[in-house]
Amino acid sequence: MSTVIFRTIAPYLSALMLVFSVFVLLRGHNEPGGGFIAGLIAAASLAIYAIAAGVVEVRKALRLHPLALAGFGVFLAGLSGILSAFVKAPFLTGLWVTFTLPDGTELALSTPLMFDIGVYFTVFGVLSTVALALEEDDEGSV
């Protein structure tokens, strides 16, 4: 899709969508959203970028193979479950640590959040893998 208009707008749109996806990820615990939908939006952003700029460029931009990102996601989620072994709690028990930042904001880190980030990476990685592979499979893109 080598139109000037699309090619010009796509990077900005993709970047905005990526930002938005992180937002959706982080607020999932309290409002709709969460790792899955966020990962999906992120992958959609990547797909738009890939359609506009081509797969090669996307792969260059990502550095890592997206499937490795997916592996990282599951690893992270699994790890978040195993952490509870250190406090003599069962697998996947939610653990919470709250920091107070200099400006008074409370920052809560938790294994459920870590878990959800794992979900995010998995979904993002896999959907990107599929989109890029399908895109690449097709020689001579339009």
Binding site: S2, F6, I9, Y12, L13, L16, V142
Partner: protein, 116 residues
């Protein structure tokens, strides 16, 4: 009183937005070809959805929600014309002829052979 006015405003914008959307839909049903239908969809449609989002922005009385709603409108304004452009272009290249009443056509049919 201000609160009442606020609700009236929200309701009004909401209904106007819905009317725009509805007319856009009427448009895509009544207009003769793809290109003319796209006028309805891209303009009235964007307006309709945008207005309902603005209604939320006003209704919420919350800076965060309002800004998000406006961001949503911005996204719409960013994407809708591009989508319309891509669809129109693709359809044209694929050979979708404009309706018979179209008088002028500056797009040379030969162009499409090297368009992609």
């Amino acid at each position: 009183m201000i609160a009442e006015l606020h609700l009236y405003l929200v309701g009004t914008i909401l209904v106007i937005g819905a009317i725009f959307s509805c007319l856009a839909a009427v448009g895509i049903l009544r207009l003769p070809d793809l290109y003319t239908r796209m006028h309805a969809a891209s303009k009235a449609g964007t307006l309709g959805s945008g207005l309902t989002l603005i209604a939320i922005a006003i209704f919420a009385l919350d800076a965060g929600v309002a800004l998000r709603a406006l961001a949503g409108v911005a996204f719409l304004l960013l994407t809708a014309p591009v989508a319309a452009h891509l669809l129109a272009r693709s359809a044209y290249i694929a050979g979708y002829k404009p309706a018979a009443i179209t008088r002028i056509n500056d797009l040379d049919p030969d162009r499409k052979s090297n368009s992609d």
